[in-house]
C-alpha cells in the first residue's frame, strides 16, 4: 500500500469537511429557494408567476450542467471567492453551486407533499404567510425534509469525491492518484469501503432522525 493511515484519515477528514461545509452553505441557499419555489406557484400562498418562472429557469440551468463541467466552468468565480481554484476550500464553491439548486428542488418536493387542506385550514385561522410556512408547512414536511436532505448529503459525498479529481483533496483524490493512477488496488478498496460506510452511516442517521421528527 502506497499510503499510510494518516493520509487516509486526513483524506477522510477532507471529505467530511468538504461535504459538511458545502452542505451548510447549500442549505442556506437552497432552503429559502425551495420555499420560494413552492409559495410562488400558481394558486399558492404568494403566487407570483414571474418570480416562479425565473427561479425555475435558473435552477434548471444549474441542475442541467454535470458537476465535473460545473466545477471547471466556474473556476474564475471560485478564484474570486476563495482566492484559489485548487484545494479543499476551493472545491466547496462548485459543490455549493451544485447542491444548492438540488436542495431547493428537494425541499420544493417535500413541501408540496403537505396536504393543501392544511394550508387552507391555516388560512382560515387567519395565519400570515410567514406563520403558514413556519408553523404549518415546515413542521408537517419535517420528516420528509430530513430524508430529502439525507439524499443531498449522500449526493454531496459523491460529488466531493469527484472534486478530488481537480485537486480538491479527500477520499476521491486518494482513490484517483493512488488507487487508479498508481494501480494500488488496496487503496482503491479502502477508499471505496470508507465511502460506503460513510454513506450507510449518513443514510441510517437520516432515517432515524426522520422518524424522530415525524412527531414533534
Amino acid at each position: 500500500m502506497l499510503v499510510n493511515n494518516e493520509q487516509i484519515i486526513e483524506a477522510l477528514w477532507e471529505t467530511v469537511y468538504m461535504t459538511g461545509a458545502s452542505f451548510l452553505f447549500s442549505i442556506i441557499i437552497g432552503f429559502p429557494l425551495g420555499i420560494l419555489l413552492v409559495v410562488t406557484r400558481k394558486g399558492h400562498l404568494l403566487a407570483n408567476e414571474p418570480v416562479s418562472k425565473v427561479l425555475n429557469v435558473i435552477i434548471n440551468i444549474f441542475r442541467s450542467v454535470p458537476f465535473i463541467i460545473l466545477m471547471v466552468a466556474i473556476i474564475p468565480l471560485t478564484r474570486l471567492i476563495v482566492g484559489t481554484s485548487i484545494g479543499t476550500a476551493a472545491a466547496i464553491v462548485p459543490l455549493v453551486f451544485y447542491a444548492g439548486p438540488y436542495i431547493a428542488r428537494l425541499i420544493e418536493n417535500s413541501l408540496l407533499e403537505v396536504d393543501k387542506g392544511v394550508i387552507e385550514a391555516a388560512q382560515a385561522m387567519g395565519a400570515t404567510p410567514g406563520q403558514i410556512i413556519f408553523r404549518f408547512l415546515i413542521p408537517e414536511a419535517l420528516s420528509s425534509l430530513v430524508l430529502a436532505l439525507t439524499i443531498a448529503i449522500v449526493g454531496l459525498i459523491g460529488a466531493s469525491a469527484m472534486a478530488g479529481a481537480i485537486g480538491g483533496g479527500g477520499l476521491g483524490d486518494l482513490a484517483i492518484t493512488y488507487g487508479y493512477q498508481r494501480f494500488d488496488t488496496v487503496v482503491m478498496l479502502i477508499t471505496v469501503a470508507i465511502l460506503v460506510i460513510l454513506v450507510q452511516g449518513v443514510q441510517s442517521a437520516g432515517n432515524l432522525l426522520s422518524k424522530k421528527v415525524r412527531r414533534s
Binding site: 396536504d115 387542506g117 392544511v118 387552507e120 385550514a121 388560512q123 382560515a124 385561522m125 387567519g126 395565519a127 400570515t128 406563520q131 408553523r135 404549518f136 413542521p139 408537517e140 419535517l142 420528516s143 421528527v213 415525524r214 412527531r215 414533534s216
Partner: protein, 343 residues
C-alpha cells in the same frame, strides 16, 4: 349575520370559463343553522369559501355582520377570519402535532400567553369530549375524534360564525349523529351562527333551521327546513327529500291494487304538529263508509316538530271519499291526490 348579494365566481381553466356560482342571494341570520345542499359540482364549496375569502367572489358582495369583506385589507381579512371558525371534511389537522397543539394553534398564532392557552385548550377539549386525548396525535384517533379536534380548534378563537365544509361526509352514520349533536350544542350554547354545506339531506333534516338547494351555481329553492321537506318544489329538491324520506311505492304493489271494479284513489296525507298524535285514519274509516289501506307511513321530526306522512288508498264511493277528504283537511293535515298511482 351573513349576506350573499349577487355573488358569482368564475374560474378560468385554459380558455374555458367555469361558472361555479351564478348570482347567489342568501341571508343567514345570526344564531341560525343554515344548510346548503347540492350535488357535487353545484358550487357548494365555492360558496362557503367566499365567506372567509378562501375564494374571492368574481362579482357581488358577501357581508358579515353587515360589513362587506371584499373591501378589507389582508390584515383585516386575517382578523375577520379569526371570528369565523371552519371545519373540514378531511379535518385538515397537523399530523406532526399533538391534539393539544392542534387546538392551541389558533391561540399560538394570536400570541396568546402560554398559561392562558393551556387553560383554554383544556376547556375546549373537555367541551368536545377529548380531555383525555390531549397528548395523542391525530393519526392515533378515529375520524369522529379528529373532527372533534377540528371543532375544538375552530372554536378556539371564540368565533361568531362556524363554517362546516362537508364536516360529516367522511364519517359513519353513528359518528355523524354525534358530531351533529355537538354542532347543535355549539349553536345553542354559544349562539354561534352555523353555515354548513353537505350533500346529505339527513344532515339538513337533523340540525338545520333553514336550507338552500344549490344547482349549477344557483339557489333553486330555499326556505325553512319544514317548508322544504314537506313541500319541495323543484325536481332536485324532491330527489333530496326522497333520499331521506322515500315514499315511493313499489311497482308490484301498484299493480296489485289496480282493481278496475273498485273505485279507489290514493292520497298523500301529511300531518303536522298536534294532529300527528290523533287516530285520524280509523275515525275516517268509521265515520264514512270507506276502506282505508295504508300503503306507506312515516313519522319524522323536522326542526323539533313531529311530521307524519302517510300514503293511503281510499276505497269506496266517490262521494264518500270526497266527504271524508273535506272532513280531515285542516291547518295541520294536508291531503293531496297521488295522481301517478291512480288507475
Amino acid at each position: 349575520m351573513i349576506q350573499f348579494e349577487g355573488v358569482t365566481k368564475t374560474y378560468h381553466s385554459g380558455k374555458q370559463e367555469i361558472h361555479a356560482l351564478n348570482g347567489i342571494d342568501l341571508t343567514v341570520e345570526t344564531g341560525e343553522i343554515y344548510g346548503v345542499i347540492g350535488f357535487s359540482g353545484a358550487g357548494k364549496s365555492s360558496l362557503i369559501r367566499t365567506v372567509n375569502l378562501l375564494e374571492r367572489p368574481t362579482n357581488g358582495r358577501v357581508l358579515i355582520h353587515g360589513k362587506d369583506i371584499s373591501t378589507l385589507t389582508s390584515k383585516e381579512i386575517r382578523d375577520t377570519r379569526k371570528d369565523i371558525g371552519m371545519i373540514f371534511q378531511h379535518f385538515n389537522l397537523l399530523n406532526s402535532k399533538t391534539v393539544f397543539h392542534n387546538v392551541a394553534m389558533p391561540l399560538i398564532l394570536a400570541k396568546t400567553p402560554k398559561n392562558q392557552i393551556k387553560e383554554q385548550v383544556k376547556s375546549l377539549l373537555e367541551f368536545v369530549g377529548l380531555a383525555d386525548q390531549a397528548e395523542k396525535y391525530p393519526d392515533q384517533l378515529s375520524g369522529g375524534q379528529k373532527q372533534r379536534i377540528g371543532i375544538a380548534r375552530a372554536l378556539a378563537t371564540n368565533p361568531s360564525v362556524l363554517l362546516c365544509d362537508e364536516a360529516t361526509s367522511a364519517l359513519d352514520p353513528q359518528t355523524t349523529q354525534a358530531i351533529l349533536d355537538l354542532l347543535r350544542r355549539i349553536n345553542r350554547e354559544y349562539n354561534i351562527t352555523i353555515l354548513l354545506i353537505t350533500h346529505e339531506m339527513g344532515v339538513i333534516r337533523e340540525i338545520c333551521d333553514k336550507v338552500a338547494v344549490l344547482e349549477a351555481g344557483k339557489v333553486i329553492e330555499q326556505g325553512s327546513v319544514y317548508e322544504v321537506f314537506t313541500n319541495p318544489q323543484q325536481p332536485t329538491t324532491q330527489r333530496f327529500v326522497r333520499s331521506v324520506m322515500n315514499d315511493e311505492l313499489p311497482e308490484s304493489l301498484l299493480t296489485k291494487i289496480q282493481d278496475p271494479a273498485q273505485n279507489h284513489s290514493i292520497y298523500r296525507v301529511q300531518f303536522t304538529g298536534s294532529s300527528v298524535g290523533q287516530p285520524l285514519m280509523s275515525q275516517v274509516s268509521r265515520e264514512f263508509n270507506l276502506d282505508l289501506n295504508v300503503l306507506f307511513g312515516n313519522i319524522t321530526e323536522l326542526q323539533g316538530e313531529p311530521y307524519g306522512n302517510l300514503i293511503v288508498e281510499f276505497s269506496g264511493s266517490l262521494s264518500e271519499i270526497q266527504r271524508a277528504l273535506t272532513a280531515i283537511r285542516s291547518d295541520s293535515v294536508k291531503v293531496e291526490e297521488v295522481k301517478n298511482y291512480a288507475s
